[in-house]
């Protein structure tokens, strides 16, 4: 396991009119034994970042180093990384067992067969695919394929695991099991992992840090808590939170003491409180109540703007009620979407 650094790495695809900047001057350090989450919308450059670290793409500018060694010009095979592809890309002509054994059988490693058998068995048990070992890789369900792909990475102890949405096609139960399992493995082995996901819970619970990426730029890096509570801009604020953060034009809420220049006010669902009329920042109409069991999502219309807030499951509100709405710890954003400090 090792520290992995990106130094001002840039990557473009295509030329002339069709040129795309996939990664722009990205600098990121993944500490030894750290699990960093990469979060971003589709096309943001997440996969490209992993491919640059793996050596499948050569950066146009900048440096990649693994364990202090500059590997910018080094072949993938010599970088000692493991990659779980977004497309699971199992070798279709091999059995599940041979797929898992494939990295260990590489001419560079030459692990003895007995050792391979032991490791493959161990990983198969972990991922609950022991009974599939003799199947052709193509004769599996999507979720099973994805587990084999994860297994092919886990049989090795590389400098870094690169995982591109590895749990995306699993059902909720298996996904949460494997999430915990991966986290446990990571802590036990002290594995360094760079992990791409769209999944809110994975992002919040698995990583020690989250890097939010948008249009090839690393917009913010921080602990899940920092990213959630202190987003640097609207884009980051919208990436986390389920349901998403409430965004209200400043002009609709003249009562809120916003700093000058504020254009949009953001409030997480748990920070929008139903209050007594006198205390409120505005009065809204309850339009719809989603009862989720442990909590309710209250959809409130405030001066034509829809807001979602959390309600107690036993609250006696009903659709059509008029309620006061209060914003706790609102976030302010300027016209360009950048965050501005409160109470300035």
């Amino acid at each position: 396991m090792a520290e992995v650094r990106l130094d001002a790495v840039s990557k473009h695809f295509g030329t002339g009119e069709a040129a795309v900047t996939a990664i722009a001057e990205m600098s990121l350090t993944i500490g030894d034994g750290e699990l960093v989450i990469l979060l971003g919308p589709t096309g943001a450059g997440k996969t490209t970042t992993l491919r640059l670290i793996a050596g499948l793409e050569k950066p146009d500018a900048g440096r990649v180093s693994i364990g202090g060694r500059d590997v910018t010009g080094v072949n993938p095979a010599e970088r000692d990384v493991a990659f779980v592809f977004q497309q699971y890309s199992l070798y279709p002509h091999l059995s599940v067992y041979d797929n898992l054994a494939f990295p260990l059988r590489s001419p560079a490693r030459r692990v003895p067969e007995a050792e391979i058998r032991r490791k493959v068995g161990e990983v198969a048990r972990l991922l609950r695919i022991e009974d599939k070992l003799n199947n052709r890789a193509t004769h599996l369900s999507g979720g099973q394929m994805q587990r084999v792909a994860i297994g092919r990475a886990l049989v090795r102890r590389p400098a870094i695991y690169l995982m591109d949405e590895p749990l995306s096609s699993l059902d909720a139960k298996l996904r949460s099991d494997l999430r915990l399992e991966l986290k446990r493995i990571q802590q036990e082995l002290g594995a360094t992992i760079l992990y791409v996901t769209h999944d809110q819970i994975e992002a919040m619970t698995m990583g020690s840090r989250i890097g939010v990426i948008d249009r090839g730029r690393l917009v913010q890096v921080g602990t899940p808590r920092e990213i959630y509570e202190n987003p640097v801009d609207l884009h980051v604020a919208q990436r986390l939170g389920q349901p998403g953060i409430n965004l209200v034009p400043r002009a609709l809420l003249p009562e809120v003491p916003a700093p000058p220049g504020a254009h949009t006010i953001g409030a997480r669902t748990e920070h929008v409180r139903i209050a007594r009329a006198g205390h409120a920042d505005g009065v809204g109409l309850v339009r719809w109540i989603e009862r989720l069991g442990d909590q309710n999502h209250l959809h409130v219309t405030l001066r034509g703007q829809d807001l979602v807030t959390l309600g107690e499951p036993d609250s006696d509100l009903s659709v059509g009620d008029r309620v006061g709405v209060e914003f706790l710890r609102p976030l302010y954003f300027d016209a360009a979407g950048r965050r501005i400090a409160a109470g300035a």
Partner: protein
């Protein structure tokens, strides 16, 4: 919704339509096999039976055709033959019944061996070079790739025999006339363009992710090519090899022009059989029957690869 009625492609065809389809296929197969069957039968007729009219479907089988194919004979007077020691072997006996004696082995076996060596070696070379070139075109940014591919294909745009005279003169200068090496090079050159195009199609279909995964798993590009690309291209390679072999095996025009002795292949040899001692159709039919066997065996051997089909579905598209 009309757009959703795709189910017919999944449903098993009805028993009746299966029967009809089978019937058509069998009928067609029988039709195409009539000439082959005719040749097979003719090989076992005597020369008089082979030209009798109306044609005989029931006849006394004889190995005279095969004997004539493998031997050369000379005509002798009955008195001379009567004075010889008893015939050794069946072919000698048949020859004597026609007032001939076996003079020695014919050139059929060496010509057949020439065909085998030239066709299989050139196929191996064409498919080998074609696979590597196709992989290169498929995976690397080759400058002017499209123009190069067009150029490669353009070598097939006129009938190869159109360049027969230049090639004939060139070969004479280079000392390649009537050599196996010359024929191997020629057939390889003709086949390699077909091989590149066919195989590029097959290799383009193999997602790069497989090689990328292998390279990350610790394999060099060449090792990844061998372990991951080749097994998956097996279907395409087998199909291409069959095409190349059929061309090289059957090629007639260049073989007539460029070979006459040492390196002569079977196709130009077969007409010679007719010339020797009357119209010996059973010998021609015997040669043709034997000539079909290698291609037949080769295709059967590769059938497994041809039918295995291309694997879909391990990469989520």
């Amino acid at each position: 919704m009309p757009g959703l009625s795709t189910a017919h492609s999944v449903v098993e065809p009805s028993a009746l339509s299966k029967r009809i389809a089978q019937g058509i296929v069998i009928l067609y197969a029988l039709l195409t096999m009539i000439p082959l069957a005719w040749i097979l039968l003719t090989g076992f007729k005597t020369p008089p039976d082979s030209i009798s009219y109306p044609p005989k479907l029931v006849f006394q089988p004889s190995l005279e055709g095969y004997c004539n194919l493998f031997t050369t004979r000379s005509r002798q007077t009955p008195e001379y033959i009567a004075g010889l020691p008893p015939a050794e072997g069946m072919c000698d006996e048949i020859a004597r019944s026609r007032n001939m004696v076996v003079a020695g082995p014919s050139k059929f076996v060496p010509r057949f061996v020439n065909s085998l060596v030239i066709a299989f070696t050139s196929t191996l070379l064409a498919v080998g070079l074609g696979t590597l070139a196709a992989y290169g075109f498929s995976r690397f940014r080759v400058p002017l790739a499209d123009d190069l591919l067009f150029f490669i294909l353009s070598t097939r745009m006129m009938p190869p025999i159109a360049v027969a005279i230049p090639i004939y003169l060139m070969y004479r200068e280079l000392g390649l006339s009537d050599t196996k090496l010359g024929m191997i090079l020629l057939y390889t050159a003709v086949n390699v363009s077909l091989a590149v195009w066919l195989l590029k199609g097959f290799i383009d279909e193999i997602p790069r992710e497989y090689e990328e995964a292998a390279m990350i798993d610790g394999y060099t590009r060449l090792q990844a090519f061998r372990k991951v690309v080749l097994p998956q291209a097996a279907t395409g390679i087998a199909a291409t090899a069959i095409f190349c072999l059929i061309f090289a095996w059957n090629e007639y025009a260049f073989a007539v022009l460029l070979t006459s002795g040492e390196a002569q292949t079977t196709p130009p040899f077969i007409p010679f059989i007719i010339g020797e001692g009357g119209q010996d159709w059973p010998a021609v039919a015997a040669a043709t029957t034997l000539f079909v066997i290698p291609i037949f065996v080769f295709t059967i051997l590769l059938r497994k690869h041809l039918l295995r089909g291309i694997t879909f579905g391990a990469v989520r598209k």
